[in-house]
């Protein structure tokens, strides 16, 4: 075996090739990946692309000029934040009007969402998409918990597990919602949810609330199985069915004669 061949088949060669490939792919992705949907409304190309997407997917309900129509509200002034929330969580486009649009499969790429957001933001001044410094935690958890209990807990449950509203509507669980979408929901008040504008809950307040919820999610449950943090109903159900069921089984065993 010549030395050249030996070097070519150096055991590290495959690892180096893999590493180079990964770096190349990652670099290309970073360069070409769709940016966050915070494109300025002046970006005419994105607005035009967003307009086309809007006409194809949204205009049936929201009207050709997004001024509202059959079953869809006007989108003038709802801002990029509303689009990023509704489309980014798969609530829109709505396949089938029901009591409440549910979180679902996201139908558009993040680039398309940012184009749609740019188009809607161009219609009128509205709340924009929050910077990640406000949505990725790191706030005051204690303050966030206090604000959450006053403003949010009555619908979304003490631990953000969600809860029932009237006539089939419900406040969804917040455990698997990204910080950005929570921020946008507070800002825009989607569906049944009221609006919590920046003079009600300041950006710092919103950051604290998001940090609190992220902490709730990672916090270990001190009492063992949390049963979904839904409160006394599932706990009572568990105690009555499982607990008493086990007691009955033990009582049956107690009363049975040995073989």
């Amino acid at each position: 075996m010549s030395s050249l061949v030996a070097r070519r088949r150096h055991p590290a060669a495959i690892a180096v090739v893999l590493l180079l490939g990964l770096i190349l792919t990652g670099g290309l992705y970073a360069a070409f990946a769709p940016k966050n949907a915070d494109a300025a409304s002046g970006d005419t190309q994105a607005v035009a692309a967003g307009h086309n997407l809007f006409l194809a997917n949204c205009a049936t309900c929201h009207g050709l000029e997004a001024a509202g129509g059959d079953g869809g509200p006007s989108l003038v002034g709802v801002g990029a934040a509303a689009v990023d929330f509704q489309v980014g969580t798969g609530r829109m486009p709505l396949a089938n009007p029901a009591v409440q649009a549910r979180q679902g499969k996201v139908q558009f790429s993040s680039e398309e969402i940012s184009q749609l957001a740019a188009y809607v933001a161009s219609l009128g001044v509205g709340p924009g998409i929050p910077p990640s410094s406000l949505t990725s935690g790191g706030g005051d958890i204690a303050k966030g918990g206090e604000l959450f209990r006053v403003n949010c807990a009555m619908c979304h449950n003490f631990a953000g597990s969600g809860g029932a509203l009237t006539r089939g509507k419900f406040a969804p669980s917040l455990m698997d919602v990204s910080g950005r979408h929570m921020y946008e929901a507070m800002l825009t008040g989607p569906q049944s949810m009221p609006v919590f504008n920046n003079s009600n809950l300041s950006p710092q307040d919103k950051k604290d609330i998001i940090s609190f919820l992220q902490n709730v999610k990672t916090e270990p449950s001190p009492g063992g199985w949390s049963l979904g943090n839904l409160g006394p109903v599932p706990e009572g159900l568990f105690a009555w069915t499982f607990g008493i069921g086990v007691l009955i089984l033990i009582a049956i065993w107690l009363g049975k004669k040995a073989a």
Partner: protein, 380 residues
């Protein structure tokens, strides 16, 4: 069975053959047996361990194993108590992320108790004697001598205490014992609420009073020997900051407490009556003229205390303008004087009139027109 029916003991069993040939028991009273023999206890079935020494040995080992499990679990409890940190957590299947110490202590303690209990029961069931034994109950009645002795002791005691000869002691003792029931009942009745007529606290809230106007020195301004007050502003809960009308954008909900609530002797007592929810909706959707007048451009304030049993009504649906109480699902229509549209509440939520002061902040010119919260007898 009484004796006179013994004559009707059937001579043949009450079973007849129908046409298909199968035996059918008839319900003929005449042919029913007058009485049944007591069949007694079924013959005792011996356990495997009673006859087979190997099985008994196996049971012995099982019981010992259960007791050993208990011992091991107790030792593990001590180890867990000493070794696992207070803040350590662990991710378990089904349970999710839990506090390691609590789970370890709970599981080991349960095993250590269960080991003792299950071992003892298994021992009793497989090895201890299990033959049925009939044990006659001893007579309940005491012997005549014991009864006579008891009467002698009692009457001797009564005689010795002289209770019949000294009625003063008898009646004062009766009085003392009788009156002793009063403190017990007093707490029960006293806890029901204020005595009739004294319901000022239930009829008023902090919104009925003002806050002192401060002069340039930061001291309360006095006029004619009285502190000058102004109506309370609406403040954000929990921050206690004042609210401008322009802050309350369409679809917003602010949770509100009266200004200066933390300067009162008992802020919690004030909060349960004075909590308010401030809602901004489209003014043309409000059906009631009075509600429009008492609000500002569609911004209205209502008591947050449910008129059913006083829970905090906070679940506001922006699209339907419904306010929902989380306790018993009473639903109030904010567009129509907060009238009850569902649930056990009987009266609408009282509205708080709001106005804007010279500094641009929202304030309540006067308190609620009617008592907030649940009914009480003297409410009228």
């Amino acid at each position: 069975m009484t004796d006179d029916t013994d004559a009707s003991i059937p001579k043949e069993p009450a079973v007849s053959q129908d046409e298909s040939g199968s035996a059918v028991a008839t319900r003929d009273e005449q042919h029913a047996p007058a009485h049944f023999e007591n069949p007694g206890l079924p013959p005792h079935v011996h356990r495997l361990g009673d006859t087979d020494p190997a099985a008994a040995k196996r049971s012995e080992r099982q019981v010992a194993a259960l007791f050993t499990i208990s011992m091991v679990a107790t030792v593990l409890f001590v180890i867990a108590y000493a070794m696992i940190g207070k803040d350590a957590d662990v991710i378990l299947p089904i349970l999710g992320k839990v506090h390691a110490l609590n789970v370890a202590l709970g599981v080991t303690l349960a095993l250590s108790l269960l080991g003792i209990g299950l071992g003892a029961i298994h021992w009793a069931k497989t090895l201890m004697p299990d033959e049925e034994v009939v044990e006659e109950r001893h007579p309940m009645r005491s012997s005549d001598e014991a009864r006579a002795g008891f009467v002698a002791v009692m009457s001797g005691g009564a005689e010795g205490s002289q209770i019949n000869r000294r009625p003063l002691i008898k009646y004062t003792l009766g009085g003392a014992l009788g009156i002793f029931a009063v403190p017990l009942g007093l707490q029960l009745i006293g806890g029901l609420g204020p005595i009739r007529g004294d319901v000022h606290d239930l009829k008023t809230t902090l919104w009925d009073t003002g806050v002192p106007v401060l002069n340039a020195d930061g001291k309360p301004e006095m006029r004619d020997g009285k502190v000058v007050t102004r109506p309370r502003r609406l403040m954000r809960d929990p921050d206690g900051t004042a609210i401008r009308l322009s802050d309350v954008t369409l679809g917003s909900v602010f949770h509100v407490l009266p200004e200066g609530i933390n300067d009162t002797p008992e802020p919690s007592n004030e909060k349960v009556k004075a909590a308010v929810i401030l809602i901004a909706m489209q003014e043309n959707l409000i059906k009631s003229a009075r509600e429009r007048d008492w609000g500002l451009n569609g911004v209205v304030a209502f008591s947050k205390i449910c008129t059913h049993v006083g829970c905090s009504v906070g679940l506001y649906e922006q699209t339907t303008h419904h306010l929902l109480c989380p306790c018993h699902q009473s639903t109030f229509d904010v567009a129509d004087d907060c009238k009850v549209i569902f649930g056990p509440a009987k009266r609408p939520l009282p509205q708080l009139q709001i106005e804007v002061d010279d500094d641009g902040y929202l304030y309540a010119p006067h308190g609620f027109e009617q008592p907030v919260g649940p009914s009480f007898w003297e409410r009228g």
